[in-house]
Point group: D2
Chain length 360, copies 4
């Protein structure tokens, strides 16, 4: 319950951090609006859009009718930096880095949802994404996956919120890599993503009639999330990890499902793997290791910050299969950004993120 809603003046009002959401017309931007609107410790003071400046956000997104009275404004960094303590950037790659730098100069905390600060190595970034104009900020940036970078995030001023695919795959593989139970070369990540991952930009490939009643692979072996995965998985493993990453497009709005295949160093069992995973994640509020016999599905995490994960051992081939499901817009983007925001500001990590989704 959001105490602001009932206007109870006698309640001790919790601390409210003024925030801005930059690029609040895309799917991750609007998801941040949804989450922050009911966050007891965040107050959205600005949403920006170049194209829609001056328009009510509830006009463009009528699901907010009567819920949010904000008007889009054009971004003016200097002026906005005076009004907010933290800013969420929901901008395209390349575009984000300049804006992030502008806010950092003013001292504003930046949670960047683009890829611009995810790769530690500028050369790797430039190989996969093109020129980087803010290399100096790379060492300041913290990779925003709380499960593995919690302490650094607490102190961060610039958070690179992870990609959706890498989040699902890191949460799926971490226990095996940390415990050095699997071979680190040639891990196969067969991932399937909902169409919101392609963004709200009008593209023929994302049209309803192209996606509906269809399924396909794309960018097999050459998707730009590959170096991000390898960087972070290598950190977890303490040695260089390589992955073969094959993304596919699902005819659903939200959800990433990763099926990960790897070679155990020695024989194991599904029961033992589940125990290992449950122990590994026992203090994590957002990672749920499912009991034997239940497998993840995207609908069960839709609209939530949860990751459902199931490891299996295949007796017949001696391989391990890990299944991992998240909502690409929540745990794969905006929810994760809020989780980082909570850590930075000292709020309980799950604040504003505990609503279950809904089925159907």
């Amino acid at each position: 319950m959001d105490p602001r809603f009932h206007g109870d003046d006698n309640l001790n009002m919790p601390k409210q951090i003024p925030i801005a959401i930059v690029g609040a017309t895309g799917y991750t931007g609007i998801e941040l609006v949804r989450l922050c609107l009911k966050h007891p410790n965040a107050e959205i003071v600005a949403v920006t859009s170049r194209q829609h400046a001056g328009q009510k956000i509830a006009g463009l997104f009528p699901f907010l009718a009567g819920q949010c009275d904000l008007t889009y404004e054009d971004l003016a960094i200097d002026q906005m930096a005076k009004r907010v303590e933290a800013v969420f950037l929901c901008l395209p790659h390349h575009e984000s880095m300049e804006i992030a730098a502008g806010f950092r100069k003013k001292g504003t905390t930046v949670l960047d949802l683009s890829a611009d600060f995810r790769l530690n190595n500028a050369a790797t970034y430039e190989k996969w994404y093109g020129p980087h104009t803010q290399k100096g900020l790379l060492k300041e940036a913290v990779y925003g996956l709380p499960e593995f970078h919690r302490e650094e995030i607490k102190k961060a001023k610039l958070v690179a919120v992870p990609g959706c695919y890498p989040t699902s795959i890191q949460l799926g593989l971490a226990p095996l890599l940390k415990k050095k139970l699997i071979e680190t070369k040639g891990i196969i990540c067969d991932s399937k993503s909902g169409t919101s991952g392609a963004g709200r930009t009008a593209k023929a490939d994302s049209l309803f009639c192209e996606v509906h009643e269809n399924f396909k692979a794309y960018k097999v072996g050459c998707h730009r999330h590959t170096p991000e995965m390898e960087q972070e998985l290598s950190l977890l493993a303490g040695e260089k990890v390589t992955v073969l990453f094959a993304p596919h497009l699902l005819p659903i709005d939200r959800g990433i499902f990763s099926t990960i295949y790897c070679e155990p160093k020695s024989k194991t069992s599904t029961g033992d793997l589940i125990k290992l995973y449950q122990a590994f994640y026992k203090n994590e509020p957002f990672v749920k290791v499912l009991p034997e016999g239940t497998l993840p599905s995207t609908k069960n995490v839709r609209g939530t910050n949860f990751c459902h994960v199931s490891p299996l051992f295949d007796e017949r081939t001696g391989k391990i299969v890990v299944l991992s499901a998240i909502d690409n817009l929540t745990k794969g983007a905006s929810g994760q950004a809020v989780q980082c925001f909570n850590l930075i500001h000292g709020f309980p990590e799950e604040t504003g993120l505990t609503n279950p989704g809904f089925v159907p």
Copy 2:
């Protein structure tokens, strides 16, 4: 934010009403679990299922993993009546009336989501639904549409939660009927419902491959929600109203969209109609009259207790068209039940129901 979640002992804990959800394996039952789980003034102490007694609810519905530790139990009215103050019945028609009577004998407040107590006239019920064995309870039952029966609901012990179609149509027509602006005979209600309206029972007609990439009409002119609509619309109008009700099946999970056609007694304009509707609903927390130029859509109310409504005047034919969208499982069933629960127990009417949905 649910204060229970963070275990803050110093907070003044709000009053918690112990409740049971009977028949918590269907779509309206599980929607009640979702809503009540985060309701600050309700505590789910029991969920029942004949078939799944002894099983964890999170096993059957993994979206509740780590969120709800309840175990299904078989229904024992006497014993349960001692543990709860209110009970939500999510049972098939006919089956519900007996259970409701049992609970009423014990003094438990009953919120019945079936059709068993919606029709004041037992003969009408029997014509459309079959035998009624608890006619004595009909006069006690209150029709649970808060927008039009708020004061009675506050005092009710037995609430007949309205049907999904009738809710969307009553909210769409009420301002016109109350103000006596339209003819009351032959109003046309062309409604389209998501498939969750057909329930979670395995039926060939509800299979994915039958519904997906399909659209059809069914029970045109003979759907059992017709007498319920006419009863309540007549109450609003103060005279007998007849409707031609044509339901259709949509290949979506959730949502009812009603397109209502009626004859104004005199010429009007879209702008004037919108003003009339906005004034009529200005104090209603859950009815949003959209501004001119914006029309309702089911996705914008999905997962919420909101009704979006737009009236239009068609200059060319002189008719009024009203568009109304709700989520059939929330405002059309379980959310409405919670809204009634709040009224009965003196909580702010919107308690537990204020989360926006999400798009996409």
Copy 3:
């Protein structure tokens, strides 16, 4: 079976009309390619696209891999007029009229799928669509709904292939209007269209994430197919007909479903209406009046040139409801164009159009 496929030289080859499909990258264009590819009396000699000239059609549309070796070419009217006898124009409104005029000057038969020649009255066209630069051609143009203009189509050189919505509504209403059984003012047409009706142009409104799990109305009372409907329905009725047309967008690829409400001049019955419709359409190969108890659905006509239609009489309100389903790309556009082509060239009307669709 297409005899060309097996290369049986001894068969008497049927006459092959050389045709071109102009604008063969949109959904109606590619549907024409699909239909004409297996048409025994049509030979596609050219497909055009400004943007994709020089590219293989099977590269852009891999469902044609190994089935069609054509390469897109840029349109050059004079040169193309020498190669083909008939041309199908799948172009946007306004753009089509100039191209049609160019081909008519060369004597080529034109089947135009745009709205440019559907309205007899240039002033009406200009009110709803904007300037018309080829008014002289309007009197030559024949409205291409074979069920009601068969003899004119046989002699036509310029066919205006009807809109998808008007086709579904005319086929639904014709028996009632022709027999003068209903009031002609204020007929209500509540239509629902699949998303392919919006075309293959990249627009945010047509993105998967906007349409999927959604349903909405649009352009209620002001859709541009309204004057076309009224023109043709008035012809059928022999007096002026007005309709209130309310289109809606369905989350399916293909299909138009119209629910039509009208006032009979006298009481009737569903059984009698069905008999009337069956008699009316008994010689029509593509209109199927369903038996009592079966209602149309879009999936049952998907991919076909059939229209399924069911009239009902509602005892309670005394109104008639007609349900009509077609595939908007086939009977609502390209299939209808082929049907006209068959008539013009003296082939049996159903040639190339007899494959059933598939379910699921």
Copy 4:
């Protein structure tokens, strides 16, 4: 063109084989009806259904309205064996074997779409499926994948039509295994199937609301198609092949997409692999190896008997990835059965199977 349709008496009528479709109410049964209805050399003389005997097939499946006048009959083997030359069995596993034996005793050619005769080894069958009561027929049965068993099929009297998953995987892997280019242990087959693969039986798991906007894995490592794959892949390789098979459920009607990961014995390139595949399949009418840069998708093969396949070499990890797409009801079941029927009866293999699908 089906010459029967136009009633051209002067055409030499092609030979018509009388056939029956047993179990013509499920999705593979009705797909056979669709395909055989337009097959120039097959005449459907009977469709059977225990539950619907006496009903018109077009009543249950209105997409056949006006296209097919058959009435379901109860199965009587002796009597039916006198009327038909070939019978297609679309029955559940176990049930099919007895019926097949009955028809074989009468000399009828049997095309069995169940798993009952796919496994050469009765013990393997019994381990995965349960008791086999017709072991004597196993040696007579021919595995009906024409691409690899063409000559045996031509002489067969009992064809075991392959499973949908195994078809997609065999067509994907055959060139690599035949040429001994890959390791034969631990091949990973990550497959995704449309929901029609689960059949038309009413099951809660197949309900629209459970499948729509969802994606999940099931039976990972333990699906019953595994031994069938391994049997046939081993035949192709000339040595024992093991696969880790992970099936997933897609929210689409039709389509199987397999992403297959394997280890090449030596470095290769995508270009070379495509050349190899194109050479390998150059005479196959139904296998299309896509050009470099184009990848398979389920929608491009929907409703057709085609398999689209793309091999890729991943430089970074040294693995080969093969993508393969079919329609599970056509090439994965009923279309393949018709292809076998054509071979047995000496008709061109592609007879009745050459229509392209449609997009969207």
